[in-house]
Symmetry: C2
Subunit: 329 residues, 2 copies
DNA sequence: TTGAAAGCGCTAACAC
DNA sequence: GTGTTAGCGCTTTCAA
């Protein structure tokens, strides 16, 4: 029925070992033999069985990807970057959605190991202790992209949220802003905490301080933007810093619906930099993160671990820029 | 090193076959034996090797997904639906991006087959003849979701673009619109052609006809929206029908930048219904496709094929609604 | 440069 | 209800 390596060997009058060598590009094959084998492979339309190969070689050329939600623009852009590099290095990716749920993460993790993946990428999301523990004692390399554990013990790719947040706050303070509000989402607590820290530093340096009611933690959705706005608008902020683009857009619209002029009466800056920032009017001021690259570099880092290459730096920090668009003065 | 079924068998003083039965939930095992085996499995932290299982059983519980671009909101929403159903049925998904490129599609297809996937889902995208041919002679079941071949030979899940388009055109004609423009994208030619057909029918029924310059085919991106607007604005249309949300939003903004009032002077309706439609102001009038369901139902259909269940109807047409929001009068 | 043969870890008859 | 055994299709020593 299906053509196996044995059929090719018989037809080409060589051993299975030789066919295997040809298929795997082993140089120790006489050119004439190689040609003969290749001819038969083509004629019989032989396609190596990756499962059998995986069993024999203990390598599946497959990596697992654990992602909170592939339909979230932020994550799907990371995923695309990762995918492209995986393809470049001849890896396939098994993607599973965790909804940032720790139990699901662990289940997925174990499933991926049972599938014998060569490595795992953990995209975004909050890294709860149990998950970090699982990663630390993993039998295959793991890289986290677009997030990190609190102590940065894991191999990771990220931007410096603290610095970005601080820079934004300083700029806007220089520009006259005094009252800041902060809206975090549920997915990456590390990013949120780091960004909040940067904001606090900038405020403290300027002799300002934040109102206790000025922080809201929501769920990073457009709809939740109006909840966020309702919550923080009580303190009448000059600026709202918001982790998620979708939520920031929700905030902008909620404010506008309430008759607040943006950016004149309220400025909004977000951190995700998905393609959405350009698709709304006024265009959303944001930290421009290299999303595609965060995924791509994470995957590249993982390939290094999988091939036992030298790792210069397990915690990669990628550059960012702040772009002031329509939602800031 | 790693724990195998053999280790468990030895430790539990039973045969491998019995362990296999327990692991696979085969009822022909005495409860006491089952308990004993389960205890050992837990104690040794045994995790079945899915690769070995795949080789022996010729089933990998893995499906391949070929998608034009996971970072495109439309496709990532389909992907999420599909993923959830796959997980529900204990399948994993290997996702690969094709960029709607026929060569890549074929390469991915063959790679997936070599990975011994149990089935393949083809998401969105134009089905070129070579791809259709590949699918037709595939050794594993294939379902196409969110697109179809021109003759509907393949198992598929879709909405009726012709009907939707016709309905919109009729409604807007009743409402006074006379000059229509149409903007298609690169990804799904079938959808585009069907939608165009519906528009033509409605126009013809109303004794109207379309200007030759009123059709533009672009690439479904936000940026391309301004190209599309430049192209079709020459005929001064009352209405632009646009397949892609992103592109439609680009059109709206290009028009607004040119001083055109929306919806008073120009109405815009799109077909994709991604979450973007709510995130712009004015909110985009659109066909509300059940994106998540198109993916989910496609996956469910595929599981039926993979398990040799009875198929009632290989071409599933899902219901749609038209929602008139801010970009129509 | 090539071949023989022993697994990789599991499932699935088949026999008991 | 349980065990024996022959593969699944390939890679990888080891020897020649």
């Amino acid at each position: 029925m299906t053509v196996t390596i044995y059929d090719v060997a018989r037809e080409a009058k060589v051993s299975m070992a030789t066919v295997s060598r040809v298929v795997n590009g082993n140089p120790n094959v006489k050119p004439t033999t190689r040609d003969k084998v290749n001819e038969v492979i083509k004629r019989l339309n032989y396609r190596p069985n990756a499962v059998a190969r995986g069993l024999a070689s203990k390598k599946t050329t497959t990596v697992g990807v654990i992602i909170p939600d592939i339909s979230n623009v932020y994550y799907s852009e990371l995923a695309r970057g990762l995918e492209d590099i995986a393809t470049m290095y001849k890896y396939h990716t098994i993607i599973s959605n965790s909804d940032n749920d720790s139990d699901k993460e662990q289940e997925i993790f174990n499933n991926l190991l049972s599938k014998q993946v060569d490595g795992i990428i953990f995209l975004g999301g909050t890294l709860k202790d149990e998950t970090v523990e699982l990663i630390e004692k993993s039998s295959v390399p793991v890289v986290v992209s677009g997030t990190n554990d609190r102590e940065s013990k894991l191999a990771s790719v990220n931007i410096n949220y603290t610095e970005a947040s601080k820079e934004i706050a300083e700029t806007l303070i220089d520009n006259g802003a005094k009252k800041f509000a902060f809206v975090g989402g549920g997915y990456s607590e590390k990013a949120q905490d780091d960004a909040f820290k940067g904001l606090e530093e900038a405020l403290s340096n300027a002799g300002l301080k934040m109102n206790n009611d000025a922080k809201f933690v929501g769920n990073e959705t457009y709809k939740d933007g109006s909840n966020a706005y309702d919550a923080v608008s009580k303190i009448n902020p000059d600026v709202i810093l918001c982790i998620s683009d979708e939520q920031a857009i929700g905030i902008v619209h909620a404010a506008q619906d309430a008759g607040v002029k943006i950016p004149e009466e309220l400025q909004v800056v977000s951190f995700n930099n998905t393609r959405l920032v350009h698709m709304v009017r006024p265009q959303l001021s944001s930290v421009t993160q290299p999303l595609y690259d965060i995924g791509a570099v994470g995957m590249r880092l993982l390939t290094k671990y999988m091939n036992d290459e030298k790792i210069d730096e397990p915690n990669v920090i990628l550059p960012y820029r702040v772009e002031y668009r329509g939602t800031t003065k």
